[in-house]
C-alpha cells in the first residue's frame, strides 16, 4: 500500500519553497492547497516521501544493484554483530550428540538464532541511518573461546528509488 500520488508544486515553481538540509540529505518545504509540505527533495524538484522510495520494508539483498531501482544515496557501511553461546547444558547435549554423529541440532539452532539477531541489529542500524535498503549484504563468523559463536552481518546502507522507465 503506497501513499497517494503527490500533486504538490515543484520547488522550481513555488517561490515560497525552502531547502532544508536534513540528516545529510536534501529536503525541501513547499506549499500545497492543504498547507506546508515537507519531505525529501526528488530529482525532479518535487517533494517525495521516504516510504515511496523503497516500495516496502527495509530491503536486504546480497547483490550490488536491485532491478528496477537505482541508488539515490549511499549512507555508508552498516553492520550487526552478536556473540551467542549455547550454554553449559546445550554444549553437553551437543557433545553427547556428536558421539553418534549427524546433525548437531543444538548448534544449528544457535547459529540460526545468531543469524536472526545479527540481521535484526543490522536492519535497525540501517533504519537509524535513514536508509531504505541494504545492498551487498554479507555474513562473517568466528569462534570465541570454543563455546561462543560470533556472527557479523554487514552491508552498505543505501536509499533506493524507482528507476525511471
Amino acid at each position: 500500500m503506497g501513499l497517494p500520488r503527490y500533486r504538490y508544486p515543484s520547488v522550481r515553481e513555488d517561490p515560497r519553497a525552502r531547502y532544508l538540509r536534513r540528516s545529510g540529505e536534501w529536503a525541501a518545504r513547499t506549499w500545497s492547497g492543504h498547507g506546508a509540505v515537507r519531505g525529501i527533495l526528488r530529482a525532479d524538484g518535487r517533494i517525495g516521501h521516504r516510504r515511496n522510495l523503497g516500495g516496502g520494508a527495509m530491503l536486504v539483498v546480497t547483490t550490488e544493484s536491485v532491478p528496477g531501482y537505482r541508488v539515490r544515496d549511499v549512507k555508508g557501511q552498516v553492520f550487526g554483530v552478536v556473540v551467542r553461546s549455547r550454554g553449559l547444558g546445550g554444549n553437553i547435549m551437543a557433545g553427547l550428540r556428536s558421539l553418534a554423529g549427524g546433525e548437531i541440532t543444538e548448534y544449528t539452532q544457535l547459529l540460526e538464532e545468531a543469524r536472526r539477531h545479527a540481521v535484526d541489529r543490522m536492519v535497525k542500524n540501517a533504519t537509524l541511518m535513514q536508509a531504505n535498503a541494504i545492498v551487498m549484504m554479507r555474513f562473517d563468523s568466528a569462534e570465541i573461546g570454543q563455546t561462543m559463536s560470533e556472527i557479523v552481518a554487514y552491508g552498505t546502507a543505501v536509499v533506493l528509488e524507482k528507476a525511471n522507465g
Binding site: 516510504r51 516496502g56 520494508a57 527495509m58 551467542r84 549455547r86 550454554g87 553449559l88 547444558g89 546445550g90 553437553i92 547435549m93 553427547l96 550428540r97 541440532t105 543444538e106 544449528t108 539452532q109 544457535l110 540460526e112 538464532e113 545468531a114 536472526r116 539477531h117 540481521v119 535484526d120 536492519v123 535497525k124 542500524n125 540501517a126 533504519t127 537509524l128
Partner: protein
C-alpha cells in the same frame, strides 16, 4: 530426550557427591556436588532462544521474507516495524513440503 539424560546425569552427580561427603570423602564429594549443580542449572535455565519484547505501538508489515525454522520445521515469516526498525519472526503454522 537428550535434555532429560543430561539432567539425570546432573542428579546422579549430586547424589554421588552427597554420598561421598557423607562418608567423609569431602574433596571429590564437593567437586561432584558442584558439577552436578552446574549441569542442572545450566540445562534447566538455558536461554538459547533469541527473543525480545516488541516495541510499544509497533505497526508490523510483511517483508516477504520467509524461511523454514530448523528447530520446529515451521515456516516463519519476518515482519518489520518501519518506525523503530525492529523485526519480528512469526510462525505461520505451515510446514514446508516434505516435512
Amino acid at each position: 530426550m537428550l535434555r532429560t539424560v543430561v539432567l539425570a546425569l546432573g542428579v546422579i552427580a549430586i547424589a554421588a557427591g552427597a554420598v561421598l561427603v557423607a562418608y567423609g570423602t569431602r574433596g571429590p564429594g564437593v567437586y561432584l556436588l558442584c558439577v552436578g549443580t552446574a549441569i542442572i542449572l545450566g540445562t534447566a535455565f538455558e536461554r538459547w532462544r533469541y527473543h525480545k519484547a516488541p516495541p510499544a505501538g509497533a505497526s508490523w508489515e510483511r517483508t516477504g521474507e520467509r524461511f523454514e525454522d530448523p528447530s520446529t520445521g515451521e515456516t516463519t515469516e519476518v515482519q518489520y516495524d518501519r518506525a523503530s526498525g525492529e523485526r519480528r519472526y512469526v510462525r505461520t503454522g505451515e510446514h514446508a513440503p516434505g516435512k
